[in-house]
């Protein structure tokens, strides 16, 4: 009996042992297999398919016609399709690598549009490459506005202009308004050569010339003090020329690789000043309409000379030094404009010099030492420095306020200041490989920023980052990252900008408790103490060979814990989900969705009342400045939700379909709160909502191996209700003559038909 009972027990025990041993062995085998199989990034398998029609031919020529249904400025903001009507579709590429060891490539695109570009390259394998081409870009902006001004950089009002103290007094404004384009065209010519001198040395050089022309917009005001300004939005001419040249020399040795480069960049603005006739009748006869004018200084000509040295040195198979350093000098000495464009105003003291004649020398060095002290341990030591050093004289400028009055007394002189800056970061990153294809990393970085002529002379930040990446199964990987950063600022010198800007006579005449530009309790956030927490998670999962799923999360919180006024907290949350499916070579698709919320909390204090602060009359301190009941807060939240999908389907051997859809929904909220008992009043602003639908469909019929017909269709719908422009006519704001532009509201259809011929 006992023996009969024992046999099954022995069998069971033996079976269990065998199973356990088998399990253990298989587990060991699995472990060793896991260890033997290195980490491999996922999400690469199901990328967009490379159609042979796109990649498998030596040349192709596409020609056809497109038609845009309506004038627009959002759909065609950058793609050259802003005008309604027909446009030529022209794309071409051709390359030849058959002719011995020399080759050439030519490509042209958007030939019928203002975004056309072309490039030609000729080379001899690994010895010489010469290329040249051009690139045109276009940007159009809201062109629904109108302006009464005529002219370009000298803008005049119509002869029958009816002036007044406010825009409401411009009685013939409507009759004077004319539409205008806000369009920038950027055309760049470029050429380059890359030649190998011998086994170790090569030389490179590039030359480019760019013209940027068109019109932007700008606000200009005529005023005598900060309490009031007579402003107008103006069409601003853009006529830039940029010439750039660089010459590089490279050395490639066994251990040392070096790239040296000298570069020169010259920026030339053909317009120095934008002058507009004053439409208002405020101030004296020399300032008001019709004689009075305003003048804005436009971007000054400047140039930059720079040198850069980058490379790496291989100490051993496990130790390498990398470096990238540069030194550049940007100079600007354009002749000054007069203090005022109104020549009839009294100006007794000329500008202290003819031009700024200033330079900024910027030195940078980024160095990284890579080491692998142990088989599973990688280490990086890094150091970065950026030094911005001004060489410019500090002078007093007895400036005319807003072209609005005579030159003020010498005591109102202001002084320019230089903003020298030295930023240094040093740190260490350690990465250790663990089982299950996982990796643990830790980084510590210390950043020190020293500034001259700033409210804070020095900020120091400690940053700790912990990262972990694991791929427990071949079809799943996870990456996590947590960062804590603590920035400490020196004492906030809230009066620094006041003392730096103003004349001692004025300062001495100002009561101590009014010697500031910014409220003493405000800390500019980029100079303030800050505690940052950040977390990131990235998950990739391939449930099958055909599917790929990815989830990406970010959370960041910036706490400006020492700031009473200014930005006090900022939070950023982001989630992105994407999935792609590749059923076969003929069918693939992907979808993605993104949700992004950025929230900023800021506080300020409203202090005003009575007269404009006049330092030469002794007032009691502005009482509201020290009253916390005058505080107010904004809780501003920008939210965006994006969804997109793409489908590529070759539903017959000679028919292909490509569908692409993007949806964007954004909301900008600004909620105010004020203190009971204070005089500051502000209600929440309406939300700014934006909706975009963009459908792109393309079908291609491959009539023959080398001949296809392609039909394209796009539908673009964009709407927004930005309160900054909603219902704002040209004369809605009493002291700002605007363009009266509408918010974008577009529904645009585009169709295209083209023939593609390919050859080998």
């Amino acid at each position: 009996m006992n023996s009969r009972h024992r046999i099954p027990f022995q069998l069971t025990a033996a079976s269990a042992l065998v199973l356990a041993a088998t399990g253990a062995l298989s587990q060991d085998a699995a472990k060793s297999e896991q260890q033997a199989t290195p980490y491999a990034p996922l999400a690469l398998e199901n990328r967009p398919l490379q159609s042979s029609a796109l990649t498998g031919y030596a040349g192709s020529l596409q020609m056809g016609l497109g038609y845009t249904g309506d004038d627009n400025y959002m759909f065609g903001q950058y793609n050259g399709l802003s005008d309604d009507g027909a446009s030529f579709i022209g794309n071409m590429q051709w390359q030849d690598f058959h002719s011995g060891d020399s080759y050439w490539q030519v490509s042209m695109s958007d030939l019928g549009l203002d975004t056309r570009e072309a490039k030609a390259t000729w080379g001899k394998a690994d010895r010489l490459k010469i290329s040249a081409g051009f690139d045109s870009q276009q940007q159009v902006r809201n062109d629904s506005g109108r302006t009464p001004f005529r002219g370009d950089n000298q803008q005049q009002l119509p002869d029958d202009w009816a002036s007044g103290l406010t825009t409401g007094d411009f009685t013939n404004l409507d009759d004077s308004l004319r539409s205008f384009d806000r369009e920038l065209d950027r055309d760049r010519l470029f050429a380059g050569i890359d030649a190998r001198i011998n086994e170790n040395w090569s030389v490179q050089s590039n030359l480019s010339y760019e013209e940027k022309e068109g019109h932007s917009d700008v606000g200009g005001a005529i005023y005598i003090d900060a309490a009031s300004g007579d402003s107008a939005l103006l069409r601003s001419p853009v006529d830039y020329r940029t010439t750039e040249f660089d010459l590089g020399l490279s050395y490639d040795g066994d251990q040392l690789h070096l790239n040296g480069q000298l570069a020169y960049s010259d920026f030339d603005n053909k317009d120095d000043e934008l002058i507009w006739q004053n439409p208002y009748s405020s101030y004296g006869p020399n300032v008001r309409y019709p004689a009075g004018q305003g003048g804005l200084g436009l971007a000054p000509d400047n140039d930059q000379v720079s040198g850069r040295l980058s490379g790496h040195y291989l100490f051993s198979a496990t130790t390498r030094l990398q470096f990238d350093s540069s030194y550049s000098v940007a100079s600007q000495d354009q002749n000054y404009l007069d203090y005022t464009v109104n020549q009839a105003l009294t100006v007794t003291e000329p500008v202290p010099r003819n031009s700024y004649d200033g330079e900024v020398a910027t030195s940078t060095a980024n160095v990284r030492l890579l080491m692998r002290p142990l088989a599973k341990l990688n280490a990086q030591v890094f150091y970065k420095v950026r030094d911005r050093d001004y060489d410019a004289d500090r002078d007093g400028y007895q400036y005319v306020r807003g072209d609005g009055g005579n030159q003020p007394d010498a005591k109102f002189t202001v002084y320019n200041t230089n903003h020298d800056l030295t930023s240094q970061t040093a740190g260490l990153e350690l990465t250790y490989r663990l089982p299950l294809r996982s990796k643990l990393s830790f980084e510590y970085a210390y950043e020190d920023v020293e500034r001259r002529n700033s409210a804070v002379e020095e900020t120091e930040e400690d940053r700790y980052t912990l990262g972990y990446r694991i791929q427990p199964w071949s079809n799943f990987s996870a990456r996590m990252h947590v960062q804590y950063a603590d920035r400490a600022a020196d004492t906030y010198q809230w009066a620094q900008s006041y003392y730096a800007l103003l004349d001692t006579e004025l300062i001495n005449a100002t009561p101590d408790n009014q010697r500031y530009n910014n409220h003493p309790e405000l800390m500019q956030y980029y100079l303030a103490n800050r505690e940052r927490w950040e977390g990131k998670v990235d998950l990739s999962y391939l449930p099958s060979e055909r599917w790929n799923l990815n989830l990406n999360l970010l959370w960041r919180d910036d706490d400006y814990d020492q700031s009473n006024l200014g930005l006090t907290e900022a939070t950023w949350q982001r989630a992105n989900l994407s999935a792609s499916y590749a059923a076969s070579k003929e069918l693939s698709g992907s979808i993605y969705a993104g949700y992004d919320v950025y929230e900023g909390e800021q506080t300020s204090r409203a202090f005003r009342g009575g007269q404009e602060k006049n330092a030469f009359e002794i007032y009691p301190p502005l009482p509201q400045a020290s009253d916390p009941q005058q505080n107010w807060d904004i809780d501003a939240t920008d939210t965006s939700f994006t969804v997109g999908a793409n489908l590529h389907w070759q539903f017959a051997p000679d028919l292909e379909l490509e569908l692409d859809y993007n949806y964007v929904d954004t909301t900008g909220e600004q909620d105010y709160s004020t203190r009971p008992g204070g005089t500051a009043v502000a209600s929440d602003l309406p939300d700014v909502d934006t909706r975009l639908h963009h459908v792109q469909a393309s079908s291609t019929w491959h009539m023959q191996d080398n001949l296809s017909v392609q039909l394209d269709y796009q539908f673009y719908s964009y709407k927004t209700d930005d309160w900054a422009w909603d219902g704002v006519q040209a004369d809605t704001i009493a002291k700002v003559l605007t363009f009266g532009q509408d918010n974008p509201n577009e529904d645009i259809h585009y169709v295209g038909a083209s023939v593609i011929y390919r050859w080998q």
Binding site: F97, G220, A392, H419, Y525, G600, S683
Partner: protein, 294 residues
């Protein structure tokens, strides 16, 4: 007689064998198996920049795939020394080393230690040297490759304010070097500001009246990939400006819905808000521009 014949046959065989081995050294027998067929991508490489490596022919193959003697003998069972897949892919370091034999300079100089290298990306994860058109080298198509992994950027590219990246007029690689760099975010230039100014030279200055944060860091106010707010701004004005400015009178005052056209139509809120007057926000060179209004 028979002995002489045998000697002759032996000498002939030796000669044939010797000549065969010499031939094998000069021209590996890649094409014995990899014939030029429509469904085989192998021969397409000869229509690309890599087609003339080491004089072309099968030497081109061994330049990247290694001498692969075992594969030459038993091609169906043994992989080449360096295989880029899909069958028998070599490990990442081996594949990358093959490319870096020639491409460890210029833009690829700082590959080691780069984000992509640390993520174990192989060169052929993005590049395909056997296609006549390597999409990774063409702006608009290369962006598709980038955002297939960087999905968070994909969303930003469609926001109301953006660079022309979705249109392919600015490519990811115009600003970033996917092969690594020592600056932030592997930018081509040595700093973020240098990167921005390489296209926006009109903001380079130096200006008589500078706006200090502009010279320090463009990203203090702008989000380069795309933003909800106009001009790639991190927040709307006037709130954005009031994060740093609280001077007496108008800069310190809250501007709520009372300032809309249904109310007082406030000049500091509507239109370009602060920039209705302080338009020279990136700096002014006008001698009367201390307040960035000229």
């Amino acid at each position: 007689m028979t002995g002489n014949r045998l000697k002759a046959i032996f000498i002939l065989c030796c000669a044939l064998l010797t000549s065969g081995s010499v031939w094998a050294q000069d021209e590996p027998g890649c094409f014995d198996c990899h014939a030029d067929e429509a469904d085989s991508p192998v021969h397409t490489v000869f229509k690309t920049a890599h087609g003339s490596l080491q004089g072309g022919g099968s030497n081109t193959c061994t330049t990247c795939h290694g001498v692969s003697e075992a594969h030459n003998r038993r091609g169906r069972r043994v992989p080449p020394d360096v295989s880029f897949g899909p069958r028998w892919p070599s490990d990442v370091d081996t594949r990358n080393a093959s490319c870096q034999g020639c491409h460890e300079k210029d833009q690829q100089l700082l590959w080691m230690g780069s984000e992509h290298q640390q993520e174990s990306l192989a060169c052929n994860d993005c590049h395909n040297s056997h296609e006549q058109k390597d999409l990774a080298l063409h702006g608009e198509q290369s962006q598709e490759l980038c955002v297939s992994c960087h999905t968070q950027v994909r969303s930003e590219l469609h926001l109301p304010s953006r660079h022309p990246i979705a249109e392919g007029k600015t490519a990811c690689v115009d600003c970033h070097n996917p092969h690594g760099g020592l600056g932030d975010a592997a930018l081509h230039q040595v700093s973020l500001n240098e990167n921005c100014i390489s296209c926006h030279q009109e903001k380079r200055g130096p200006f008589l009246w500078e706006h200090a944060p502009v010279a320090e860091d463009c990203a203090l106010c702008h989000r380069p990939h795309g933003a909800v707010n106009d001009r790639l701004l991190t927040a709307r004005s006037p709130a954005l400006c009031q994060q740093c400015h609280a001077a007496a009178f108008h800069p310190s005052v809250p501007y709520g819905s009372e300032g809309l056209p249904s109310g007082s139509s406030n000049q500091n809120l509507l239109g370009k808000s602060c920039l209705n007057c302080h338009s020279q926000i990136h700096g002014s060179n006008h001698p009367s521009g201390a307040r960035l209004t000229r």
